[in-house]
């Protein structure tokens, strides 16, 4: 852990989505706590993976951080500035430093724009570029992500899925960001192409000193690309630490279950234990106390009543479980 102040500092980030009922005059009948008090730090040049199953709030966390969605409460500090307090013009300035890459390379590129227009849009929007310098900048960006510069005036549909994702990455790099939120950037890609993009992201991180908030459901990809990882369950971070520690000695029962569920890398390593049955409960009506207690083999009465507070079990390693450190080794 570095001792300098973090690039991104998120505290108690919360987002409630209203649930509406009634046909003609919709009333708010409740809310989903999509993100429920999430806190983490991200240092410059560091990649933090955010993993969890669908509906755990990992994607929403990414978008809240960029203020693409307005949080219900909490704070997001980026480079010492409170992102949530910025006015329109300041926010636009700030957006140069924080960018995003999306999951679906098809949907994330405007089909009516050429590659040149797409990758330079952030700069044009910021008023930095026009005319010839636009083409020059676009060429640089394509070169940076390993796309043939000759393809500059082509349209998205003329590219393969992997190439489209490279275009999306080039667009994110355009304004020279310090942080890129990667929202499942390789999930929609075929394995043989996915590896190329993972390597590209890894190279860019080193060359440009980028920080990533890397949202993924594939734990193996996170293991490869990230230095630290946060595990989310029903809107809360249940465990966060370095990839080495977390993957080797997971402390939260949910993390253990998640890791045990990952299919084997080799037929000789097939799982011998069955995964306990049960689904992720509805976020609309989450369990009391620790959200995980209905699926947890170690749950006690305390877990059913009292939500565990995140505890630092070793420097920089935080677990939200009443019995963290007391459950013995997994497996």
């Amino acid at each position: 852990m570095t001792t300098t102040s973090p690039l991104l500092r998120v505290r108690d980030l919360t987002k409630h989505f209203p649930v509406k009922g009634g046909a003609l005059f919709a009333r708010e009948t409740g809310h989903v706590r999509a993100v429920d008090g999430v806190s983490f730090d991200l240092h410059a040049g560091e990649a933090l993976g955010v993993v969890g199953e669908s509906g755990c709030g990992k994607s929403t966390t990414g978008r809240l951080t960029l203020r693409l969605i307005e949080p219900t409460s909490g704070t997001v500090e980026f480079g010492g500035h409170n992102v949530l307090a910025l006015g329109k013009a300041e926010l636009r300035q700030m957006r140069r430093s924080m960018q995003i890459v999306f999951q679906d390379p098809q949907a994330s590129l405007d089909p009516r724009m050429t590659v040149e227009e797409i990758v330079t849009e952030p700069l044009v929007v910021q008023g930095d570029l026009r005319g010839e310098s636009r083409t020059k900048k676009a060429r640089e960006l394509l070169d940076l992500v390993g796309l043939p510069v000759a393809h500059i005036s082509r349209y998205p549909h003329e590219f393969s899925g992997g190439q489209r994702q490279r275009i999306g990455i080039a667009r994110a790099l355009a304004p020279g960001p310090k942080l890129i939120v990667c929202d499942e950037p390789v999930s929609a890609l075929d394995v043989s192409v996915q590896a190329q993009i993972v390597n590209l992201l890894s190279d860019l991180q080193k060359e440009l000193g980028l920080a990533y908030l890397f949202i993924a459901h594939d734990l193996a990809v996170v293991r490869h690309l990230c230095q630290r990882v946060a595990v989310m369950y029903l809107g809360r971070i249940v465990e966060i630490g370095t990839v080495g520690d977390l993957f080797a000695k997971p402390q939260h029962p949910y993390t253990r279950m998640l890791l045990a569920s990952v299919p084997a890398a080799h037929p000789r390593l097939r799982r011998t234990q069955a995964i306990p049955r049960g689904d992720v409960p509805s976020a609309l009506n989450p369990p009391t106390g620790c959200h995980f207690h209905p699926r947890c083999a170690f749950a006690t009465d305390k877990c059913r009543v009292e939500a565990p507070r995140p505890r630092e079990t070793s420097p920089g390693y935080v677990v939200a479980c009443h019995y963290a450190g007391e459950l013995g080794e997994s497996k």
């Binding site: 693409l68 999306f102 949907a107 994330s108 405007d110 929007v125 349209y155």
Partner: protein, 290 residues
């Protein structure tokens, strides 16, 4: 057609153009519409007689080699009258489409993009759409008094809510696509996003809708004129021609039938055109094909 495809769909211009040319409905529709337009534009060259030239001795002549569509009660050449009359019908249709394009798109885009405006705008359009369309047009025309612009305004009011709804639906889909989020993350404002990303990607359904509006407008204009609420009778539109011919329907069937056929051919052509466009451009159909 290739030019239109090129401006609207640069990315897929050639592919779209090819698909359109292979679509039978589109080709048939384009043929009929072009035919009608050419005839109307070139009316001074094609027609032998002035549309208002009366030849009393030539009254009620049935269609013949001299008077292709016959003559009316004042001996005026019906061929010339139908061609010139079409001008007004098409003109009214054109302006209704224009007003739809401007106001329908504006209202639809605002309702779809700025969610706070959605409910008031859409409830207003619900209210307008609750009236039978012709009745609503008649009501508006009755208030404003008969004139060409009355017909345009009345018909525009009838169809703008429908166009706005269709555009709103497209905007709702496109605004949630990631390239819109990406643009916002890059610091783009609402107007940039609407103008640069959302509207261009809603062009296809809009174009389809406008071709149908054109057809409906031509048809409804005839109804309004027939009822005496549309254009003044000095420059006859197709509706007025039918209205005038009605008195002589037993003696001179061609006075009503010929303008009726003109309307039918135009509307059929526009509808075929719209069907073809929809088949080729509608994203839902596209998914099924791919």
């Amino acid at each position: 057609m290739a030019d239109l495809a090129l401006t609207l769909f640069p990315a897929n211009a050639r592919r779209t153009g090819r698909k359109l040319l292979r679509n039978r409905a589109f080709v048939a529709g384009a043929f009929l519409v072009t035919l009608v337009f050419l005839a109307i534009v070139l009316a001074p060259l094609i027609a032998q007689y002035e549309p208002n030239r009366m030849q009393i001795r030539m009254r009620f002549r049935p269609p013949s080699s001299e008077f292709w569509f016959g003559t009316d009660n004042l001996g005026r050449d019906m061929f010339a009258r139908v061609l010139y009359g079409g001008r007004l019908s098409i003109e009214i249709g054109f302006w209704v489409v224009m007003l739809n394009a401007v106001f329908g798109v504006t209202l639809g885009a605002l309702a779809g993009y700025f969610r706070a405006l959605d409910n008031p705008l859409m409830r207003l359009s619900d209210a307008l759409m609750a009236f039978p369309s012709v009745l609503l047009a008649i009501g508006i025309a009755a208030i404003l008094g008969p004139s060409t612009s009355t017909a345009v305004i009345a018909l525009a009011v009838v169809y703008i809510p429908r166009t706005a709804r269709i555009l709103r639906a497209s905007v709702l889909v496109v605004r949630e696509l990631d390239y819109v989020h990406a643009s916002r993350a890059a610091g783009a404002g609402d107007w940039h996003i609407l103008w640069r990303h959302i509207l261009p990607n809603c062009m296809a359904p809009l174009l389809v809708q406008l071709s149908f509006v054109f057809a409906y407008a031509v048809l409804s204009e005839a109804v309004l004129s027939f009822l005496g609420l549309g254009a003044p009778p000095t420059v006859p539109s197709w509706g007025i021609l039918i209205s005038e011919g009605r008195s002589y329907i037993r003696e001179a069937w061609w006075l009503t039938v010929v303008p009726g056929i003109a309307i039918a051919v135009t509307v059929l052509g526009l509808n075929l055109l719209g069907d073809g466009l929809r088949d080729v451009l509608d994203p839902r159909m596209k998914i099924q094909q791919e």
